[in-house]
Amino acid sequence: MVGPIYIIAVALGIAFIMGLFGKSLKNFTGWAMLAGLGFMTYVSGQWLLEFLNNNRAVETIYTAGFKPPYSINLQMGSYEALLTFLINVVGLLGGIYLYKDLKKTGTNAMVVFLVFIMSLNVVVMTRDMFNLFVFLEVGSIATAGLILLDKNGNALQAGMKYLIATGIIAGILLIGTIFAYYFAGSLNIDDILAANLGAAKATVIAVFLIYVSILLELKPFPANGWGIDVYTAANPGIGALVSAASATAMFYVLYKLLPLGGAEWLNYIAVIGGITFVGSNLMGTKQNNPNRLLGYSSIGQIGLLTMILGLSDILGEKLVFVAFGILISHYAAKAGLFWLSGIIKAKDIKGWAALRKSPFLLFLFGTFVFALIGFPPFPSFFGKWELIMTLATGGHWAWMTVILVGSFIEGIYLFRWLGYAIKLDHEELPDFKIEWNKFFPVWVMAIVLYAVGVYVTPMVEGGSFINYIPLMFVLFLFAIDFLPVYIKNTVSIGGIIWYMFHIYPVLEGDLLRLIFAGIFLIGGVLTLMAGYSKKGTRKGFYPMAMMMFAGLIGIIEASTLLEFFFSWELMTAGSYFLIIRGKRSMPHGYSYMLFSIAGAYAILFGFGLAFASGFDTSLAALGSISLLPTLAYTLLAVGFMTKTASLGLHIWLPGAHGEAESDVSPMVSAILLKAGVFGLMILFLYMDRASTGATNLLYVLGWVGALTTLMGNMSAAFQEDAKRLLAYSSVAQLGYILFAISIMTQLGWLAGFTYTINHFMFKAVLFLVIGGIVVKLGTHNMYEMGGMIKKMPFSFVAVLISIIVIGGIPPLSGFAGKWLFYNAILEKGWYFQGAIIFFAGIIAFLYLYKLIHSVFLGQLKDNHRNMKEISAWILIPSYVMIIGIMIFSAFPQYILKPIGNMIAPYFSSEALSWEGTKALTSFGYWDGTTVMIVVGTAFVLLLGWLVALSSKAKKIEQFNIVFAAERPHRPETTHVSYNIYAGYQKALGFLITPFVTAFWDAMSNLVLEVANWLRRIYSGSMQNYALHVVLFIVVFYLIALGGL
């Protein structure tokens, strides 16, 4: 074993030697620096391995051969080994990354770089207060020097601000240190901690000074303008180090000194961390400079970590895992992002659209963003999970809220940024070239994130159950992403089919899950089949689609809360990437993501309450929520409803589904939305229905569902964009489902299931076919279509059958839903909601007719005369679905009866009985098979009669119509489609005034305005920043010790 002291000795030795040879041998010095960094990495790495593998005692290094407190001692324990390793790794990678910049500046810069990393090592290891101060100063001075690596005016200003601020902080730390020495008689940290200075009124002031200076080094909001400027102006390579390495070291210093003052100080630390986390992220929302944005994000993350330390007595033994999970994610992601920023060199985040030129860099960027927000499988996901669960256990709702709100705000800007990178149409994209030495470190950081994520999974309670097989499949698809579509499509379909066989035995007997598994997997296969119609390689599509399906099936399989949430987030991530693939999808993908994150956090909060109620990690915990049950149910419902796009939470859906690619729309609409339904069903089944809270919640949800339906259908009726029309229709259909299951009777649920299954089938058909047509015709606007029945008869039939189902017209299966609704509503007594539901159901005819008429009927346009039927690969899955619809229509009993039996135990009364093919309730009866037979027979007879009478009907030409004695020659003027419900809109259009959109717009404006107003404190004046530092000290003092 190489002793840790050699980190210092070798680093300094090399630094001095570099000074000796520097001028003459520039290559030598470069390699010497890397060798030094490599050696330091090796030393800390071997210690880390040692601590991981052998249960070894903490190693103490006594300098000068004397025992502390008389001389300085260093400590190498497992934490120190880990953190120095992290610091050295990022140092080494940073050295590689900056190699050319450093070399250009000269040997001295390399010396400074090396010493900088060394000083951070000592800061982590030292157990002496004054030594800490000295090496903090070494670090600050080195930072101040490295800021100037890019010689520009801004860097100079930032460096000066940094020097002034750290100068004041160092002075405060020095006073604190000397008084700690005065009171404790020792400079050794352990002695000072043992002296319990926080206890006495006279000595507590030293505690305050040390705390405040360490906290200030962590750049708390608002006394952090100097820190942000450093991130903004310095070379991103340096920003990466400051963010990843310095912050890590400072974080550990705070951890070391945490017991200094005792429990009450922890609250202050937590509050300061929390304010920083939220405040810094809030201001990030208004930021466009990538480096500065990263600065805000870094400070926010460090705020979160600070807060976690402040909550350490609540977190107990979980502290280490939580802090590590979040720290390592911040560390790797932030370093990677800064390095990426250095590669792209854009002044504005919009310039990151250039990243598209290199899909691989884009992948890395996405990885980092998702890791920062805390998506699986990254360590931050598990960290946040444990954090929330533990906080919930202690009943710390406020802290949970702060964490989730802050994380959400972080998502606001990170996903805007990611969206720009993926999709923004930006004219001046900066050119960048990828040098291997800049690319390699970013790569490593991404691997670190994935590897650590998988590594820590089993450490979470219940984490070992998480099924990584689907994720492996996703990775495999990434690996073969260069192959053409048909191969990947086949592989994907094969994968899903294989998984169907794999999962069937697992789910057998659990009909609820089986139905949803069927929807997800069969739907997956069918919608994927449409992919055969695409050409090229379709980069990135298949991994993301499979990720979504992996998440979906994971939700089904989940038996624990963690598994459920893991899969839920996976699905969100996958679907986000699918949605944003559309041409004009950027803003919609963005709002989808924001609603999803907010929803996921609501779910997380609810799960926290569930877990804390009985320390049960299984999904059944939802059934025994004793802590704030009403809140928990509400949050969970709201969380799931963000996916079902219920009124108020729906604004993302029309754009997201409408603008998505032609085969993505059916995936996200017919399949993905059902995940929210599944979640709601699980929730409703488990929750304590008898409680007032649950009853009220269900009542409210019933109204929400009904109004969603009305709003959705009416909005759809006034759409001119075919896919948006279908998207609004989805909103409405999900409103029906929400309403149906909120009724919480057997009939209501049967109606819900009927709608779920129907919507799955007809919406898949409609989106597939209409999507295919939209692509074929090159327009979304229905009034530019028309007469397609002649060109695309198969599509027409598919759409016709679908709209008959949506309309609920007998004899097809849509009627089953309507009939069950009437019975359920009468049984439940929700008459007015029911009336709204039926009213909405009739409005559906308006948009259905508009859809089929505008696209297929009316006048064929001149430019479409040579159109052919859409691809068979779209029609085949559509017709499979239609066969499904037909079977369901003719034999509803085969599906509804088992479902009725399955859900009957959950409800007090069994309201639906069967007499052969006849369904009976206390109100009425319906015999699907007979209706089918009667209608079929009558129809055939009538048709036969007509055919007999006019078998020789002559087909006439398109313009051969009686049009006020004129023969029209322009189809455009004769095709009645645009705004055909003008009269209706005049009368009732006020009902769909976009209040909700206006509300969310106002909310987002409010956030941005607050952010804009808040960030004015960063006036740019270094003196003001110094003032902020002093102000922070004084206010903190007055609050903590001033008796205020």
Binding site: W819, A835, F845, L846, G916, F923, G924, Q958, V962, T974
Partner: protein, 302 residues
């Protein structure tokens, strides 16, 4: 569940009666309308003449498959309502195929014909058709609001959705009719009926002055004959539905004829008195008085 041939023939006979009564009723109404306007009007047998003439026309022009099938859908809509509606109370021969579904089935089967009509007319490519359909749908989407409320109200009142049961509950004499036991629901339904029959003031759908005859503009010959056939059946069937729900049903064909005539007359009567509404006016109108009546009809049961 009787699928026998006998049943089929009885039903066919019923259909024949309904068709003829429907034609007679429509000619009578037109005569009444003409007399009110000071004209002489058509002879009572004019519909039969029209029908025979239309069916025997030899020009059959079609715009395409949907144009061709559309009238079949339309006729199926009318016949279907007839099929699922028990016509004469207490007589199994005249209960048709109502055992396969209840009131809800009939409510939703109305759309079957509408949809077929709309699709067929749509393929004609005639702008008047499309305009008529859009108006028709807009109006229909509104008249269903009071109708639905009324249906919910009587379903609460009788605790059933079965039409036979509703009729049975009204068999205690004149005063047990829903008209008296639930006047609010009856009011709402009767007002919405005005829109369903599409007479003035709610006849903008066909608006004879502006857009030749609305949706069926392009239809002629056999196709128009099918549509006329349907019109006759549908009017009687709809009136019979209201009769069953609100006016005690019918114990015999005679009672049925009287009651359906009066119900139909109600809409014609209003039509001769009021001028035509624009579409947004009619939409607003249905959402005012009839809807409020419907809501009150439910509130009284809460």
């Amino acid at each position: 569940m009787d699928y026998s041939i006998t049943k089929f023939l009885w039903t066919l006979l019923g259909l024949f009666i309904v068709l003829n009564w429907g034609m007679l009723m429509s000619s009578t109404m037109r005569r009444i309308g003409a007399r009110v306007a000071g004209r002489y009007g058509i002879p009572w047998y004019q519909p039969w003449i029209d029908l025979v003439k239309l069916y025997s026309l030899r020009t059959h022009l079609t715009h395409g498959t949907m144009f061709y099938i559309g009238p079949v859908f339309r006729l199926m809509g009318g016949v279907g309502i007839f099929l699922f509606l028990p016509m004469v109370y207490g007589n199994p021969h005249w209960s048709n195929y109502s055992f396969s579904g209840d009131l809800v089935l009939i409510l939703y089967f109305q759309f079957f014909g509408m949809l077929g009509m709309a699709l067929g007319a749509g393929e004609g490519g005639q702008p008047f058709s499309a305009i008529g359909i859009s108006r028709g749908l807009s109006q229909f989407a509104t008249i269903e609001v009071p109708m639905t409320l009324a249906v919910i109200s009587i379903a609460i009142q009788y605790q059933t959705l079965s039409i036979s049961d509703i009729v049975a509950a009204q068999q205690g004499g004149f005063m047990t009719w829903t008209l008296w036991t639930n006047p609010l629901a009856t009011g709402a339904a009767m007002l919405s009926l005005l829109g369903a029959f599409g007479h003035s003031p709610f006849n903008l759908v066909k608006a004879p002055n502006e857009i030749p005859i609305g949706p069926p503009t392009e239809y002629h010959g056999t196709f128009l004959g099918v549509l006329r056939t349907n019109g006759a059946i549908l009017h009687v069937a709809e009136a019979a539905l209201f009769m069953n729900l609100f006016f005690g049903g019918a114990g015999s064909w005679f009672e049925l004829i009287i009651k359906t005539f009066l119900i139909y007359f109600w809409s014609v009567f209003v039509g001769t008195v009021f001028p035509r509404f624009r579409i947004e006016q009619s939409v607003r109108w249905f959402l005012k008085v009839p809807t409020i009546l419907g809501i009150l009809a439910i509130i009284i049961f809460l």
